[in-house]
Amino acid sequence: MAAPSASTNIRLGLFVALGLGCLIAALFLIGQKQNLFGSSLNVRADFRNVSGLLTGNNVRLSGITIGTVKSIDILNDSTVRVGMSLNREVQPFIRKNAVASVGTDGLVGNTIINLAAVPAPAPPIEPGDMLRTTTPLALDAMLGTFNVSNKNLVAITGDLRQVTHKLNGSNALWQLLNDQQLAADLRLSLRHAATATAGLQAAARDVQQLAHGLRQGQGPAGYLLTDKEFAGQMRHTTRQLANASDTLAATLASLKKQTETPNGPLHTLLADTALSRQLRQTIGNAERGTAGFSQSMEALQHNFLLRDYFRKQAKKQAQAAGH
């Protein structure tokens, strides 16, 4: 083998340096991504369930990757403590009351930890702080609920199918729906109903006005209903009326007694038939007497002694009538 010259050594050196440079650059880039060389901020959070979280998974704040999961330890049967290494640059933006939750990066992506800010004032986070956590939406729980609602949906659609089947089989319903005349009739009836309602409304308005008037004491009925003195007068009147009727009753009673008393004047007048015949005869005689008297008086008027006087009287009457 020939001894290596200087130029081959340089080429070899370049070759090796390039290769190792590639390696170092790649390692550095990965390290930067995993935040190994920058100063980091370690915080912790206790979860019930970390849903397959692995060491090295991302921690995100508002969707920005700010760190990685450093450790996952089981504390007891219901607590998993997750240690996170966060970029120190984000320290001012994470508050002590931030809430950590386990989520996924897309539907089928990696499990990640999301930090969410809470709208309440709190000092910035310190190294070693314990973050609060929330239970995330578990897919299996969601699917469980979905299963129940699915079953309900099946029952509902089955019922609906029966209902529509029955409706389809009903002749009467379709006739009713297809009847054009019915619609016209219905429209007419409705129009009538509308008119009637308008009338009713007017009537109601009148009644309302009347009632209003009544309340204010207008009109006779209003007077009747609202005047306080009227009630007193009414009471007085009715009392008087009661007195009068009592008196009347007493009078009637005495009258009755009198009529029932035989040989009394009233009884004789009302019940004695002989008296009534005599009375009729007397009245007949009186009639005849007065007729005779009337003739005599007529004859007297035509008597020459009195004739002038009657003429004057007739003339005076005619003058008064002329006026």
Binding site: A3, T8, G19
Partner: protein
């Protein structure tokens, strides 16, 4: 079964590897020869490995595109191609190309030295032929294959970026970010570490086949051929092992 040539070869290779470690850590070191071998085996393979890596990156991207578009996952092409190149494609392509080029050259070189009895002459003259010939070559492949792999990865990713931008456009920043978002230390380091083993296996098999070549000039051809075949095979077996080990270590 216990005297099968296959098991005998594995045993021989293991002893050979043990001898490499034994002699390799012992002074005196053949620095100049090591640098020379690094130049020949590493630098001079760069063109071949680089072109192959570039073409594989481009072809992979262009082949993947229609399917990904069909699934509406066009934005995932950089991630997918990038991870494929970094984790599997570049190491395997590099190792296979190096096995083809370097494995055969080592096998042919050492076996021709063996059959012309120059190795025996070296032993006689007091030079340690194992140290001078074998340790330097094995060390050179072990060190150079990871570096070739890194450069092939870089070129492959550049080709992938080009392929992504042939149809549709993605900025370099987004492309880089898409790949880095899914890339972990485990991905990169397991890829680099396994290429170290690939390089070691290629050097070991090439040297073993060449060092123990027999049957004159005919043996030279057979040594070169079997070195390539076995080294390529070994690369895949090691890749399988690497997947298992990185899974066990949780690096996947």
């Amino acid at each position: 079964m216990f005297n099968s040539p296959f098991l005998a070869e594995i045993g021989g290779m293991t002893r050979f590897a043990g001898r490499f470690f034994r002699e390799g850590f012992r002074p005196r070191y053949e620095w100049r020869e090591l640098l020379s071998q690094c130049y020949v085996l590493g630098y001079q393979s760069l063109t071949l490995v680089g072109v192959t890596g570039f073409i594989m990156g481009l072809v992979l991207t262009l082949r993947l595109r229609p399917t990904m578009v069909q699934f509406g996952a066009e934005s995932w092409i950089p991630t997918m191609v990038g991870l494929t190149i970094i984790r599997e494609m570049a190491p395997i392509i590099t190792a296979l190309m190096v096995a083809g080029k370097v494995g055969s050259s080592i096998g042919a070189e050492l076996s021709s030295l063996r059959v012309t009895e120059q190795i025996d002459a070296m032993e006689v003259s007091g030079t340690n032929p194992f140290k001078y010939l074998v340790v330097t070559r094995m060390l050179a492949t072990t060190l150079m294959v990871p570096i070739l792999n890194l450069l092939a990865t870089g070129l492959g990713l550049a080709a992938a970026y080009l392929g992504v931008n042939l149809k549709g456009g993605t900025s370099l920043a987004l492309f880089t970010h898409n790949i880095l978002a899914r890339l972990t230390f485990g991905d990169l380091l397991s890829a680099v570490v396994k290429t170290v083993f690939f390089g070691f296996a290629i050097g070991l098999i090439g040297c073993y086949k060449g060092y123990y070549a027999t049957n004159g000039t005919e043996g030279v051809g057979r040594a070169a051929n079997s070195a390539v075949v076995m080294a390529s095979m070994m690369v895949f077996i090691l890749d399988l092992l690497a997947v298992q080990v990185s899974n066990l270590l949780g690096l996947n």
